[in-house]
Amino acid sequence: MDQTRAHPSHSPSGQCGPALPLARWAGRQLQAMAHDHGLPALAALSGAALMGERGSNNGYTINGRISAGLGGSRLLKTRDGGWFALTLIRDVDRELLPALFCDAGFDGSVEGAIGAAAARFDCAELVERGRALGLPVASADEVPVTPAVEVLMQGQNRGRGPTASYGNFAASPARPELVEGRWRSAGADTLRRAQDERRWGKFPAQFSGHRLSGHRPLVIDLSAIWAGPLAGHLFWQAGMEVVKVESRSRPDLIRRDDPATFDLINQGKANVLVDFASEREKAALIALIRRADVVIESSRPRALKHLGIDAEALVREVPGLVWLSVTGHGARGEAANWVGIGNDCGVAGGLSRAMAELTGEIGFVGDAVADPLTGITAAREGLAALRSGMAQRIGLSMSAIAAMALAEERAHDRAAIDAELRAWGSSIGAPFPHVPRRALQAEVRAIGADTARYLPELAPC
């Protein structure tokens, strides 16, 4: 089912905007997941809604070279005629502008100063220096250096894990298999399920709604903002038990900055608050991860290490654990240290250049477009990995996913995506397309409301 067409969509208030490019791609991924894994709840979601609900609900306007919404990203013309995307959302990043532009006296508060400074350098030089400085930057003409989706390492199959604790009857616990569109444990027996329903038992026969029976996969969502949490939301829609973990010192910023979007993509998740400065709390979180089937995180490798979490050791040790690492530009090598967020990663994925080739004018495509594309891709890859039973760490690159979605959409219907990009690029000043506001289907748990339940080790004696 196509959620969007190239013609404008109309809202009840009479506003209209061009269709969101790549929403059709998003819709196809949702339909494929629903079909492949027997998950009707995912078929009921619209790609246009998941990609466009933030912009629609907040009344965003298409702003061309300034990103929609808060306007934190901008496209700047460089000396060599390139286009440099720079995102400035934190004050500490503004402190780096003199270094980025090699000018001790640089004052970014002066109108036009950033544009004038960018025009003094070639694009590649700014991108290289910006990335070394840890700024979210991109070039409209770069090619992502990492695959969109990459299995970084594998651990043990869920069916070949340690068996010592399963006694005589469980010498070889079976992994779940899909039988007639339903998850089943091959040779499942009730004794084993009683022993450990969570890891070895029957995967839910029904993902639909919340009438689940048997084992419900446990998802630990350590991610923030939009891409990772959206993947967690899709797992929740698929009927899984999702626990959102937030840091006591640094809760998910979207909770404060955009509560309506926060509620939509975090509804129904349990909420656990962890003080990462406390060794005891970190140990309790790692114990929880060891019980999990899926982990979602979006930290740079250094940050994860700093939190005391060794992803690859956990994947090696916990049979069947699927670890999704959501990154700007890849989870491996030098690119793992590069910062990227939804708007600049869309630029790095070639979307702005593709639009400029059609309209002659460059600009941002969609709203933080690489975020929802990545959330949907992470859910798709996570479901397939979970079904395989094989423990693995999967790296997801937001910029490469944007490039992949564009390439796949072009292959699917070149005329339609070109028409949508042309319409988007020609609609500066127009409101974002209206998408019906999704009603909340479940409670949004207060921050830390479920800490005691999931981290019982922390309960006061």
Binding site: P98, A104, R129, S299, A303, N337
Partner: protein, 96 residues
């Protein structure tokens, strides 16, 4: 020396980006840092061998100097023989 300059240690693998600086001598492992790496490595001074950490910003007490470590090494940073210290930085997620 301009902000945005990349400096290499003569004594170890450390590389830094200059964010802020004055006219003093920036050193690593006890030896002056430069834009090019010298042919012969300088010895690592025992007094400046605590190591640098990737992604950390290093500052002096007066706030005149700020260096970002873009490649870690065994030496530690100083200006005119006075050690720099790590500035508290806020972690940032890799994605939006």
């Amino acid at each position: 020396m301009k902000p945005g300059t990349r400096l290499k240690s003569a004594a170890c693998d450390t590389e830094v980006m200059v964010i802020r600086c004055a006219d003093g001598q920036i050193e690593c492992g006890g030896s002056p840092m430069g834009e090019a790496k010298p042919a012969d490595a300088a010895p690592l001074s025992a007094d400046f061998s605590a190591g640098t950490l990737m992604g950390k910003r290093y500052v002096d007490a007066d706030g005149k100097y700020e260096l970002l470590c873009v490649k870690p090494g065994k030496g530690s940073l100083s200006v005119d023989g006075v050690a720099l210290v790590v500035k508290d930085a806020k972690p940032l997620p890799a994605s939006d």
